[in-house]
């Protein structure tokens, strides 16, 4: 059944050979970045394992987390093309998710450290 009230946006979603070449170049660049970050994480993990790192562990941990968020950003923005969608859509996907997940992380981790401390106090 052919409906004239639905606009087929996907019919417009084509690009030329020339644009395709540029896109592929961008894809391989992001591939290199993601591979280098993963390799870096593994090298750090092998050279400075958690038990030997001592007080440097906090920095290494936050380094891992920041690198992970960078990797995630490249995957979402380039591979999933979220960077090429309209700003309204980008915000609709990212803002609620980020607010919810930060709220969850904050509460669960804050409560967890209190619960751990309570266990320590009563189970000596």
């Amino acid at each position: 059944m052919l409906r004239d009230d639905i606009i087929e946006y996907s019919l417009d979603a084509h690009h030329s050979e020339e644009e395709g070449k540029n896109k592929r170049k961008a894809i391989w660049k992001v591939t290199a970045i993601l591979s280098i970050i993963t390799a870096l994480e593994v090298i750090v993990g092998v050279l400075w394992p958690k038990d030997d790192a001592g007080s440097a562990w906090e920095f290494i941990k936050w380094g891992y987390i920041i690198l992970t968020v960078i990797k995630a950003g490249y995957i979402v923005m380039v591979f999933m093309h979220l960077g090429e969608e309209r700003k309204a859509f980008r915000m609709m996907v990212l803002v609620p998710y980020i607010i919810f997940i930060l709220y969850l992380i904050f509460h669960l981790l804050t409560e967890a450290s209190y619960i751990g401390a309570t266990w320590n106090q009563f189970r000596v």
Binding site: G20, I27, P49, L109, A112, I115, W119
Partner: protein
């Protein structure tokens, strides 16, 4: 760029009705909504892993460091901490790249390219699944490396590496992710068959590859976080 979202349309027209204000097809928007909810599920799982870790009292069994457990590599007895998980991460990233190349070929209506890159994506997904089976087998076998002696095998009720919850989270998080990979491979095979049959060629666009591609990239995205929060941190 020639995606519908990059067309210049003034916002009064865009938000005035009769057109999608996002210039996107229904299916793609719905895939994104599904992925946001699925991301909340995985976010909840990984955050609760953090909860269990921080709530683990110092007086109880110590929470183990992953680089002490995942030290094995197939076909060798060398001590190679985290290297195999890193290789799995790399395999998944590469299969994500082949997927995005399939999507790109679809935008050029290049049927051959779509089929080629989708086939590579399916292979990458199957290799990853096989790696996960090996990883589970090695983990379950316990420190003695023998899965047939049930003395120190890791189960949901007993864990030879540390707290029981550590093994429970391993099985649940990597298992839930592995199930996503399995369904992703099935979807990829279906659209590969459709692409070979020329279904999308006749339809005039390869948006289905893009939609399934979103799901496949999401699986890679989740694994990036599992790798950091289960194995590294």
């Amino acid at each position: 760029m020639s995606t519908p979202a990059s067309k210049q349309i003034d916002s009064a027209t865009l938000w005035g009705g009769k057109v999608s204000p996002f210039s996107m097809g229904y299916g793609k928007i719905m895939m994104w909504f599904f992925l946001v909810s699925d991301a909340l599920t995985f976010g909840g799982l990984l955050t609760s892993l953090g909860f269990a870790k921080f709530a683990n009292p110092e007086t109880a069994v110590e929470w183990p460091a992953a680089e002490k457990i995942f030290t094995h590599f197939p076909f060798t007895h060398e001590h190679l901490p985290l290297l195999y998980v890193a290789l799995m991460t790399f395999i998944l990233i590469v299969s994500s790249v082949t997927m995005v190349l399939a999507v790109e070929a679809g935008h050029r209506m290049d049927k051959k390219g779509v089929v080629k890159w989708l086939a590579f994506t399916v292979i990458g997904g199957i290799v990853f699944l096989g790696s996960q089976v090996w990883e589970w087998k090695t983990f379950i076998a316990g420190p003695d490396g023998d899965i047939s002696t049930w003395a120190d095998n890791a189960t949901l009720a007993y864990n030879s590496y540390g707290p029981v919850q550590y093994a429970d989270y391993f099985f649940f998080i990597t298992g839930f992710h592995g199930f996503h990979v399995l369904t992703g491979v099935v979807f990829n095979i279906i659209i590969l068959i459709n692409a070979i049959n020329g279904t999308y060629e006749r339809r005039g666009h390869y948006e289905m590859v893009e939609k399934v591609g979103l799901y496949w990239h999401f699986i890679d995205l989740v694994w990036v976080f599992v790798f950091t929060f289960y194995y590294l941190v």
